[in-house]
């Protein structure tokens, strides 16, 4: 009723009503799981091989005295949730590399991401108790051009031979160029992206691939923060709601072929 009243007011875009309702339901579920159930329940998350391998990848680099390369891909800017998710993982990786005194290379195509990454890594090094080990020169802007960036990262992998490569973020055609170069260099590779096309390339070229939502769950998984884990639990509830809606819509389409309430 409230949404109908808003729609009638002339300000609200009625074409966006289904999206608006779905957003409100999703927000309500996230708020409920995060703030109401948090104190009563301990959320558990299934084992994710790619995230379990983060420690192994950093340990390997330390043992081999070779750097780690972490790059968020060319496809995303700082506004994209995938980039934020990637920077959250970067924070955990940086904290570990600081502890092990392992060099962390972070080439990027976007100066905004570079600036944020510098802050995230610097803070992670301070949090680990080793601010002196932070090397700002290793977090670099290379090029905004897609293949300029790909060539720069490819060159860096070929010359520096990193023991571990993290390809986490939004990738486009450059994904396989980097992943295959890492493979040739013998690096252990952990990848994850929101691009379903590039996922196929990562699955064949990398050792571990975070598929779809696993990338977004990584922050909670690595930090074990109950609030973040609760919001991941909200995703599962939303999936149940969506499946219920789909079953209802399919049943309705079969039983009442002329009814199209589910179509928007």
């Amino acid at each position: 009723m409230i949404t109908a009243a808003i729609a009638d007011s002339g300000w609200f875009d009625a074409g966006q009503l289904p999206t608006f309702i779905a957003s409100l339901i999703s927000i309500a579920i996230v708020l409920y799981t995060t703030y109401h159930r948090r104190s009563r329940e301990k959320f558990k998350i299934r084992e994710i091989a790619g995230l379990n391998a983060v420690e192994e990848a950093i340990g390997r680099a330390t043992e081999m005295a070779r750097p780690i390369l972490y790059t968020p891909g060319w496809g995303g800017d700082i506004q994209r949730p995938t980039t934020i998710a990637s920077l959250n993982i970067l924070s955990h990786v940086a904290e570990k590399t600081a502890g092990y005194d392992c060099r962390l290379l972070f080439p990027t195509h976007d100066p905004v991401i570079m600036t944020v990454a510098q802050e995230v890594i610097k803070e992670s090094y301070s949090r680990a108790g080793y601010p002196d080990r932070y090397r700002p020169d290793d977090i670099t802007y290379v090029s905004s051009s897609q293949f300029g960036y790909a060539a720069a990262v490819e060159g860096l992998i070929s010359r520096q031979k990193p023991a571990s490569v993290f390809l986490l973020g939004t990738f486009e055609a450059e994904s396989l160029i980097m992943a295959e170069t890492g493979n040739i260099a013998g690096s252990i590779q952990i990848a994850g992206t929101d691009s379903t096309i590039q996922l196929a390339f990562f699955i064949v070229a990398c050792d571990y691939t975070l598929i779809g939502e696993e990338l977004f769950a990584a922050s909670g998984y690595l930090s074990k923060d109950q609030s973040i884990l609760a919001s991941i639990n909200a995703q599962d509830i939303m999936k149940v709601v969506m499946v219920a809606f789909l079953i209802l819509a399919i049943a309705s389409a079969f039983l009442f072929p002329t009814s199209e309430w589910w179509s928007f």
């Binding site: 100066p111 905004v112 803070e123 897609q146 293949f147 300029g148 992943a179 609030s227």
Partner: protein
Amino acid sequence: MVRLFPQVLCAAFGTTLFILYFLKHSSAKSLYLTITNDYWQIIFAFTLIVGVISFLKVNFNKIIRGEDRPYLLVGVLGMIAMPVLAFMWGIKGDSPFMWVFENVQVPMQATVFSLLAFFVASASLRGFRARSVPAAILLISALIALISRSDVLGYLPQPVHEFSDWFRSFPSMAARRAILIGIGLGSLTTSLRVILGIERTWLGKER
């Protein structure tokens, strides 16, 4: 205070953009576009200066140390030469800037892109080994799709094309949509965590 102010700013802009997205009034649309386009371009322009300075500083330091000197010299030379050419002779069709762009930069980009063909072949060779039942299904599906798309001079029977189209439209699309739903929900919760201040890693705040 250092972390509270950015968090409040983030929450305010996140909530405002969410509301503006659903409004159709011209002033609301205008404000939405101003924030997402104009503000973004201003921020990008300033950080680009930071990025370029960082690029030059990092590369000059490495050149002095003698680390990867030939590669870095090419990079720095390109970074300095292109703006100089643009300022001196402009960026019109017959300018030196455009000549360098079309005869140096574009071929170099095409070269890097063409590497993809070789990498696809080498990655496919590894990926399509039938070591398990799922890998065998992947291999057979890929072969059928490949044969169907290449068509073998038009001699392929119609059922092969039909099976290939069915496979791409239904099982493959179903799996893809499942991943996309997960990505959508993951993006939504990540955004909400940032707006609500649950996720503060980007601020460098210890949880």
